[in-house]
Subunit: 309 residues, 2 copies
């Protein structure tokens, strides 16, 4: 068995296209994944921005299998597999590892609040023990603004000690660069790769020795984000970062998932790209117009958008 | 088809017994449900205190079927069926309605935070439309301290207008009696039954015209809670309420689910009752001793505990 190469660069929590009746559209999903790979973006399918928790385990398994059948290289996949129920997490993680994914992105269980470090540790340990496969690479998903359940340093340290090589890194979506930096400084030397959770911190992450970012807006603005990743040592890196931030801000004036889907619908001419599953809501006509004006203002374009139509 | 009688009285989010390997123990679950029915407590299986979100849909279906096969009367069941993913909510709700349950208790989707009223409405409407069965009775589960997603009045009003007769009531676990009272006053006249989410507010709920309570500690202290429900117009009602509050406080000094399971293990002599699924953690030996001393002090007993062993 060859060693799994460590994942790095720019990954995207891949948007999940739905039909008007809220069923997933596997064909559009495959096309979107291919387009992202063409842009050199890795595929963090089933993330927060994929509306993964709004899908059943069976729906996720079906979409995952559809990607493999379509020839998407599994090494470029980092599916989200952390659920509230350990059996669900084990099922999704096992399937992913058996397919040869580069890693999995694992949310903590997010129903109960104020859970103890011991309980969080037992959750992740139970999943890793249940999957029982040395090929597993776990990226812990720290996103307290949404999950309301942070993954504290003490839990990371204990997991790294129990499962060296398997606990591979983190996506830090806390929005606090100091926290990301602290994680890189404390755990980076043990081979723990801390991805920034937004391209806002891409340059900072790379300068601190991090591996890159896993960011929602790579769904719509991949070229410029990947360009910074490739050229971050050049003199214009800070200018590039400022431009990325301006584009992200244009999207973030609205709920991000609905805004990205509206932008793809606009650029591809495919109106069905707008659909989101409840409890999310698609943008209204007026919001779409405001978004388009803002995106025009920052010079936003999508390369080869026809491939997504 | 006969009309479903409206549910009322005292219900309990039934604790789910697990084995040491965290698998559910269906036999102990059935015995616990029978014991609760003998105490005249209705069965709100798959609630927060049942660790329902720590179980897969398949595990919940299996436990539900086991209850039916054991002859538990479905009219006494109010299973929790609200999940983050609409297909899961539809699957669990449909199965429950087809079995003839008295009602279902429906959480809002709880991953995304700050969702709009429109998105919440679409979620519940999609589930009700998906189940498409006039026998459905939905009790909305308002528990913002845990779900972090309240169910606002505007959403209740709109659902009642769209689905009269089907939207049947609420469990209010917000911990704020003024909120419960406001819900009873505003929506009670439309046949909307607002259960208190704790026996702390049982007397207040009944005096305000509410149907009773759905409360965790009915798992361990059913007799006294049901006694107050039956005799709330008597002169000693306030004294009864104070005694209920004291017993609850003894449990609530520790995480409630672990504490209730420890108490059952103690009173039945069955040590395997202590198991909780991660991210929850069972009580340590010292905590168990403190709990037992507190319970002795308030004169806590469990009637016919042998039936649970």
């Amino acid at each position: 068995m060859t060693a799994t190469p460590r994942m790095q660069g720019v990954l995207s929590p891949v948007l999940t296209p739905f039909n008007a009746d809220y069923t997933p559209d596997a064909d559009r999903f495959i096309r979107h994944c291919r387009w992202l790979l063409d842009q050199e973006v890795g595929l963090a399918i089933f993330g927060t921005n994929s509306e993964a928790n709004s899908m059943s385990v069976a729906e996720k398994r079906k979409l995952f299998d559809a990607l493999l059948e379509a020839g998407i290289p599994p090494a470029r996949l980092m599916p989200g597999t952390g659920c509230c129920a350990i059996p669900d997490s084990i099922e999704l993680t096992r399937r992913a590892v058996q397919a040869g994914v580069g890693g999995v992105l694992m949310l903590p269980p997010f129903y109960y609040k104020g859970v103890s470090d011991e309980g969080l540790y037992r959750n992740f340990a139970s999943i890793i023990d249940g999957v029982a496969d040395d090929r597993l690479r776990v990226y812990l998903y720290h996103i307290p603004p949404v999950s309301q359940t942070p993954i504290p340093r003490a839990v990371v340290a204990r997991l790294l000690k129990s499962y060296p090589g398997i606990v591979a890194g983190m996506k830090d979506s806390g929005g606090d660069w100091k926290h990301t930096q602290g994680m890189i400084e404390e755990f980076g030397p043990q081979g723990f790769d801390v991805f920034a959770g937004s391209e806002n911190f891409l340059l900072a992450d790379l300068r601190a020795g991090g591996p890159g970012c896993i960011t929602a807006t790579a769904n719509v603005n991949p070229t410029a984000i990947v360009q910074l990743y490739k050229t971050w040592k050049q003199a214009d890196a800070d200018t590039q970062q400022q431009k990325l931030d301006a584009t992200r801000a244009a999207f973030a004036q609205f709920p991000l998932i609905a805004a990205m889907k509206a932008a793809i619908a606009w650029k591809t001419g495919r109106a069905d790209w707008v659909h989101v599953r409840p409890p999310l809501v698609d943008l209204g006509a007026e919001q779409q117009q405001t978004l388009q004006a803002s995106l025009d203002k920052v010079g936003f374009t999508m390369p080869n958008a026809a491939a997504l139509a």
